[in-house]
Symmetry: C3
Subunit: 144 residues, 3 copies
Amino acid sequence: MQNSFFQKTDLIQIETSPYSFHMITSKLDFWLREIGASEGLLTLLVKHTSASLTIQENADPTVRDDLLTILDELAPETRDYRHNMEGPDDMPAHIKTMLTNTTLSIPVVDGKMDLGTWQGVYLIEHRAHRMNRSIRLFFAGTDA
Amino acid sequence: MQNSFFQKTDLIQIETSPYSFHMITSKLDFWLREIGASEGLLTLLVKHTSASLTIQENADPTVRDDLLTILDELAPETRDYRHNMEGPDDMPAHIKTMLTNTTLSIPVVDGKMDLGTWQGVYLIEHRAHRMNRSIRLFFAGTDA
Amino acid sequence: MQNSFFQKTDLIQIETSPYSFHMITSKLDFWLREIGASEGLLTLLVKHTSASLTIQENADPTVRDDLLTILDELAPETRDYRHNMEGPDDMPAHIKTMLTNTTLSIPVVDGKMDLGTWQGVYLIEHRAHRMNRSIRLFFAGTDA
């Protein structure tokens, strides 16, 4: 390595809307620029069990509509659950979290996440409410 | 970085019960303490294709009951599979593994995994038998 | 650490067949040997939203047949989707990607990925066509 190795961590907050995909790609690339990251690995962890992370199609918004529909069918709010004290949307939210991702690790090349043209990083809000979600960011790699 | 960078790896064994969630959070934080980890990234890999990993709600046990029910509905043992030589629980176990996680990477801050209050790390046993499962641990980061 | 720490990244191309699992284990271990990796973490990211990654059973091919069948049932091409401009196989491919993995991080021990005996790393092609898929490889760790 020509450049020097470092690691850096931070906590970001995202205010969500009910049942929705929140694109966080540019926020993450901004943070990488801010800390002077050049090449390395960016890891995200959403610190909740009723919201999750995914890398998905970033162009046509109807893709996310269909993804939300499918998640709702896989974990419908209308069925009976043993865990039902926190509202009909809570247990489905845990299931949707289990079927998607709580953590993601993304290679960083030339100061940016090395995503494909049609890929975006999304926080998915599975609850029926507007929520404040915390995501831990962790970068390890070389500086610019 | 003020502290010195190191990496450390180990293999742990978990004895499971049939169809169940096994919380391994404290075992992992104990290992991080033991190796003197301060800040970095902990990666887990379960070395099996019929058990898996997830980060889930650590409070109400009925959440895990519901998660097991849903996994059973997504991959029922009562349907026909082409792969059926290893018992009716084997192919469903592979499916449940595919839909959850074989590896997890978790940021470590101040010597502990930076999980949310309600998050725990679980090994999920998908087979109908008591099994011995191996999990590879790998930490890279700074010492205390 | 006795050996010296380094990181290395590369992009590989895989030509796929429609609806299929492509084992890439030996290609990855070959790359690790080529770059002189000893101990560390290998991260993969498939740069597409209609193909994905998984670690699965590497012995009986009917396991992968059953996995493809289940993925098709979870996201059937015969149902209506709002996103339908790119053919009936496109939206199901996004769903299958969301339910499996876009990234994987795998501990490397003694120069090889530390997988279990029955584990293989697979690229899953979810489209109905032969495609050229790019996978970003990123290793950080010690040299041999």
